[in-house]
Amino acid sequence: MDKILNSEKSGSFPRFGKRRGKYELETSSFRLDNKHKEHDDDKVTGSDEISLEHGLKQGQVDQFIESLASAQDKSMSPEIPDLAELFLKVVNSRISTYEMREGLTKFGHNQEEDSSFFEAVTRLSKMVHYLGEFTLDSTTTGWFHRAKSVLHRAMSMLETEFQALLGISKRSFNAKVMDSKTPESPQPSVFNSNQHETKTEFLNFPPESIAIMKQVATVMIFAGHETECCISYTAARLNALDAELSKQGYENINTEDFQRMEWASQEGEIDHWNRIVKYLTTNLFPAERKLCNSIFEHASTAQRLFCDLATSVTIKLLAFPNTLLLIKQYSIEKLFKFLDIYETLCGLISGIGNELSAKDLIQETSLMQRRIGEAAVSMFCELENSIKSDNGRIPVANGAVHPLTRYTMNYLKYACEYKDTLERVFRQHNEKEGSTKQEPKNGESTNTSHFATQMMLVMDLLDANIDTKSNLYRDPSLRYIFLMNNGRYMLQKVKSSNDIYEVTGDDWLRKQSADLRQYHKNYQRETWGKVLQCMSHEGLQVNGKVSKSTLKERFKSFNAMFEEIRKTQSTWIVSDEQLKSELRVSISAVVIPAYRSFLARFGSHLNKGKQQEKYIKYQPEDIEVVIDELFEGTAASIGRRRLMHLSQ
């Protein structure tokens, strides 16, 4: 434990060559001398090494380093003690020992041996660094260059080793450890090395391997070999990420091929891309970040490496949404897939966080997001255009709900499931336009939802369009039925979905209900106003006597009118059951009592028998039956009704 702490401390020195300051020297002891007895498997150089290292006294090397660091006059070449020469030999022979070692990795066989080696290399790089500040004479120069050669040899080996470690996952590491006869490592079981294992293989470095990589990276960076270290790291991780994405089934698609696909296949590709990017954002990136942080002890290095990695992978993945922008934008149905992508990109940006090193990545991704957002806006606005341009001259038969109303409302309901995303999209869009376009109108509060504004615009357009369409009906009563049907449909859609209700709000509901009541009243007036006039008690009495001829006329015209209404209005359609029953109840409530009282008051004035039979065609109960058959879309319209059902 003590040793590990020491080695970490030495590594935490600022990098040489960048800024030179007075380094506080660690006081840890030099441990080369009490180490290798433990492993006598290094037969080749083992005995030489032992005799060499016995010559090295604890702390002497550190003293030498300290003397170099604290020297005031650097124009004088310092004296190189014998122990420094010995030190070079020791390090050199340790490198040879490692280089000759067979097996997947050279480190990890003996933790103490490794740590002491890393410490020695760190000391060597300190010597080289401090000595570089001096003006050297010829003897010193000779030693200096030999030292640098040994250091390079160490760095080369560390770099190679670092690459090897980066390429080894848990399974092979365990296998390796087993080969190198370390008995305490658990035997990898045949049973757990199957599917389950391969699934989680990504970033499955054994902790001991990570610890070694961290030491290697620290030593390399300390010795000024940061670039080599980072290049190796980035290359290995990029490869691993690629392999992982490929295992997840990701494959780049070129624009041209994508362009030729049917929308159904394109949709599939979009879903796939979304899945991959989400996996990357939620699984791979956090894992990579963690790995960076556990190998590179300087937060800034770790952060930069992670961000470079993420940038590299992401920029390539962004080629796909770029391709999407080529899709003809004005098809309304594609909106939702675009919103999916927009959401995925949001996730990506927030997953990366607000790191300076990821500036390019964030910028590119946000730009992409804005473009996708703009495409989404133009798709949504295409809905407005298609409403505006829907001006067919043929009214829907029997006043039923217009397909445009159904389409628009179902679309809006679906859109409202994305309302938070749409809100962001429209806010972004309006902010961009805002500076050039209109100022918000007076009194309009600035925190009105951008999407709600847009959606209400669509609803208003739909209202206006339905109103125009209603004028295609020559019969005003049918016109009101049509308006009621469509208005009611909208109202029900809003009420049935919380998402859409939250956007429209209570005001809209109140207004819509008021409009519907008005249509209802107008219908009553148009259809039943004249009928009620027939039953008016006024004008029937001439000089205090009931005029039979007038009475007969009244009954005749009531019968005719009622018959006509029965004939036409039973073919009309009110599909909303509640609305239908409301209509019937309100009609009954007006007509039946009036008829009943009319009949009671004047029926007896007609002669019993023939006359009554001729003029009184309906009993009040009959009237009720007829009213209950209205708006069923019966008879002539049955064929059409079926069609309407199909299109729902």
Partner: protein, 382 residues
């Protein structure tokens, strides 16, 4: 060369003119004048490109950026001629109902090339990092064995990266030669090879060379009456787009360039095309010389880097401490050259990448505008 300058005056003039009520002949005459002006600008711009100053040799980073600027300028002008106040119906009639979709198809192909080349810039950047290691090792006095070995290790990896095969990221044949310099083997190829793997690809089995071939396919200069009308700028724009994409592919490493065409037919008698044809021939000659060797591309900076790196490898091979003064001086020259190249790359690669993306988005936008017009043109007139 300023895109806005050309565009501004040009657009302004067109809109003023088109708002006036003029007889058809006058419109036609004006249109011919516009086309002529467009082609004159094309000619001027390419002649400027073909006589570059020392700072931006042909196919250098800054030259490529100028080329991209030329593309953007020409594209803006072209779009103005074809679309400004144009009756969409006209473009939906022959021969435009064929010419414009063909142009748009080529535009889509160009987009893939933009993506491929953007990825390729990454591998140039990778080379830059390796060169920087060599620089930091050799830019010291005095140079010792340690520095030399460090530099050599980086330079060999650099050469391996330069000679990486376009196709699958494995090393081309010729690199075995440079490997033999190293005593150690086994790990270097991994570092170099690692850099171009899956994500480097535009798509599986995609080939930049084939893509260029397919854009050239079917390109025919307008003849007869068409030669003087609107079909002629459409042809010009096609040629410019193909040339720009072709030059990018030749310069910057990208997926599979084996069999990159070295020639696409542009009739020599076309005045506006003189400089462009000259440039094309020059680049094609370079390509033919280099192609067999397997290389990073014709990017000027990369070629210079390759030369200096090779010289420095030779230097490190023969180096014995303390080194021959003359050779040391020579090496210092190469290091200075490498330093300069790395500086140019550091400053230029990111802007170049952004510039390529700008071209990408311009092509997308322009294509959308053309599609809109075509759509309007195909609607029945009310």
């Amino acid at each position: 060369m300023n895109a806005n300058e050309y565009q501004g005056s040009f657009l302004g003039r067109i809109s003023i003119r088109r708002n006036q009520v003029v007889v058809m002949d006058a419109i036609h005459e004006q249109e011919l004048e516009d086309i002529e002006l467009f082609q004159k600008h094309v000619s001027d711009r390419f002649s400027e490109l073909s006589s570059p100053s020392d700072d931006d040799a042909i196919l250098s980073i800054s030259w490529l950026r100028k080329l991209l600027d030329v593309f953007l300028c020409c594209e803006a002008e072209f779009e103005a001629i074809l679309l400004m106040d144009r009756d969409p119906y006209q473009l939906s009639k022959p021969p435009f109902d064929r010419l414009i979709p063909e142009l748009l198809d080529r535009a889509v192909k160009a987009l893939d090339i933009c993506n491929a080349v953007t990825n390729g810039v990454e591998s140039v950047r990778h080379c830059q990092k390796l060169a920087e290691i060599a620089i930091s090792a050799l830019d010291q006095k005095p140079i010792g064995d340690g520095e030399v070995k460090r530099a050599k290790r980086a330079l060999i990896t650099l050469m391996a990266a330069i000679n990486l095969d376009d196709k699958d990221g494995t090393n081309a044949k010729s690199t075995e030669r440079s490997w033999s310099f190293g005593r150690r083997s086994g790990n270097k190829d991994r570092v170099a090879g690692q850099f171009r793997s899956l994500s480097w690809q535009v798509a599986k089995n995609w080939s930049a060379a084939k893509q260029i071939q397919s854009t050239i396919y079917n390109l025919v200069a307008p003849r007869g009456a068409e030669a003087s009308g609107l079909p002629s700028p459409i042809y010009t724009m096609n040629v410019i787009m193909i040339f720009v994409m072709w030059a990018l592919v030749a310069a910057i490493p990208c997926q599979e360039r084996t069999g990159l065409p070295t020639h696409f037919p542009v009739p020599k008698q076309l005045n506006w095309a003189h400089s462009l044809i000259g440039l094309q021939e020059k680049i094609a000659d370079e390509w033919k010389k280099k192609e067999k060797k397997g290389m990073a591309g014709l990017l000027d900076e990369m070629q210079r880097m390759e030369k200096s790196a090779q010289s420095l490898i030779d230097f490190t091979d023969s180096f014995q401490f303390p080194g021959d003064a003359e050779k040391l001086q020579e090496a210092a020259g190469h290091v200075a050259e490498l330093t300069e190249i790395c500086r140019i790359m550091e400053q230029g690669l990111t802007p170049l990448q952004m510039h390529i993306r700008e071209v990408f988005h311009r092509i997308v936008r322009s294509r959308t505008e053309f599609l809109d017009v075509l759509e309007k043109g195909s609607l029945p007139v009310i």
